[in-house]
Symmetry: C2
Amino acid sequence: MTNEPTPVSLRAKPGPDRLAVTGIGNALLDIIMRDHDQTYERLGLIRASMNLVDLDRAHEILDAMGPTIQMSGGSVANTIAGVAALGGTAGFIGKVADDEFGEVFTHDFESMGVEVDLALAEISEGATGRCHVFVGDDAQRTMATYLGAANQLQVHDVHERLIARSEITYIEGYLFDLPPAKEAIHRVVEIAHEHDSMVALSLSDSFCVERHRRDFLELVTNDVDVLLCNESELLALFQTSSLDEACEHVGELGVLTVVTLGPSGARIVTMSGGVHVPAAHVEHVVDQNGAGDLFASGFLYGLAIGADPVEAANLGSLCAGEVIKHLGARPESDLEAVAIDGGLL
Amino acid sequence: MTNEPTPVSLRAKPGPDRLAVTGIGNALLDIIMRDHDQTYERLGLIRASMNLVDLDRAHEILDAMGPTIQMSGGSVANTIAGVAALGGTAGFIGKVADDEFGEVFTHDFESMGVEVDLALAEISEGATGRCHVFVGDDAQRTMATYLGAANQLQVHDVHERLIARSEITYIEGYLFDLPPAKEAIHRVVEIAHEHDSMVALSLSDSFCVERHRRDFLELVTNDVDVLLCNESELLALFQTSSLDEACEHVGELGVLTVVTLGPSGARIVTMSGGVHVPAAHVEHVVDQNGAGDLFASGFLYGLAIGADPVEAANLGSLCAGEVIKHLGARPESDLEAVAIDGGLL
């Protein structure tokens, strides 16, 4: 693979005013509990998936939760935090409310040097979004998300400022769950194309793919350069039970695709076929939350600095391996130092 | 020690409507960062201590912090969470604001079955209090606390409801930093005496003792049955550099005292002398935050259910040993199960 021409135009390390990756996605605070007793089940939540809930249901869910830990979350937001932890320049576009959770979310990004373009919701548009995360004893996580202010992201909240300077623009698939976001996503793609920024898309969740298959297919077919997903998401997209068949589809579309396969690693799919990349070895998995998000950090940052897809995927595996060792979906370690130690940066 | 008469009247396990321990203290949310680069030093904070800050300074401190984790905190509040994790009935009296941090704080207690009597601050009285915690690579923690709503605890916020049913009423020394709290503390003591609830006091912090030595001495001399402190706090109280001398003083006052000594364990002081209790063995200390608070959980709960002070201190060591293994000052494990495994419950 490393001897073949890479299928996307890879640039050199971004210049001082350039950003490696800008993400657009849901700005959420994670409310995390260790769920020893399958609380999520009693609440009727679908295991290992992201369940969208309204405010009343969010209150009901919080009432049923044990003691919690709060930290910044959001799928693409986690990816961007990982890019920053790798030493990359990064940006984030999203929407928060003028409340304590919004303050924390913004602070955490700014403190990592991430350039943020966060729209501030009106009071009537709800509080900052939150994701209730149930972490089982098997490290599997079940999520219930109240989108709140994140739900109000509009086309006028999307500006050129960050996207125009980014090697890669990374779009969160969950955004399709926000009614007005379709227009916003198209504006993002338009700006990215204008400024020669690669468009990457996360399929986010298989149920999300089910909800918005047509929109996803249209975007993947017409606008996406890099597709990030796990197996069930890709199968849902092409309504097949065969991973090989699904990979053929994306191969034919000419979209560089990386399919994460949990402890089995990841498969990279290009027009010229598939390559398997192993997962990092992790002794004790505490919380799978953020594994896919942090894989994307390494993969996208790798591509942005000119690594080939296999090297980029190895960097992704390293990042995913770090985040599953502890509670929460944000990196705790200096990923750049870990990657340099591992000979990957 | 176990063959001697114990110096405080120990009751049987609390009945169904009784509470083992009710705490009164600062209701705070901890904002925690791993501080690899001595950020606290650049901010001029006193290492390994609690620094009181106003709102402007709190903003300045947050601005200088890296990515954070939020979780419920507050010294005596942590102790109460530990009592609940031990399977004990517990109550908490404090003050929060009607905001997201206040909601989280309240939720975490209620989800553990702690009975709360939380006064709600007016908007003009500030946001829910927060403690910025810097956890060094040596596991030592430096704190900067903005008291906010907690600062507004008044005598009329103290009710009989919880104290009257409690074996032990546990007062946070930090409360003396709140101008109107002196009156509130006296009301707490009055109710406790009326209802035959043992009065326990935490000296909280050596600088806090320096600030309020006269008030502390008065309370210890006249009203306190059980005193919880570390070495530097006890030395500050009696303005001496000799632990033996300080222990003699409390021994003469007839106050059952436990002095925590970090990895060296703890010393119990009664009128009949001192006894040393070893610390629990912990392979890798991650965060010392909450060690003293959780020691108090085991010690006070032990006393409340009729253990002698040495047994109670062993239970305290077990709890302290658990909380320093992970980030944050609240217990992550089912302490009751761990204590039963260890033959301490």
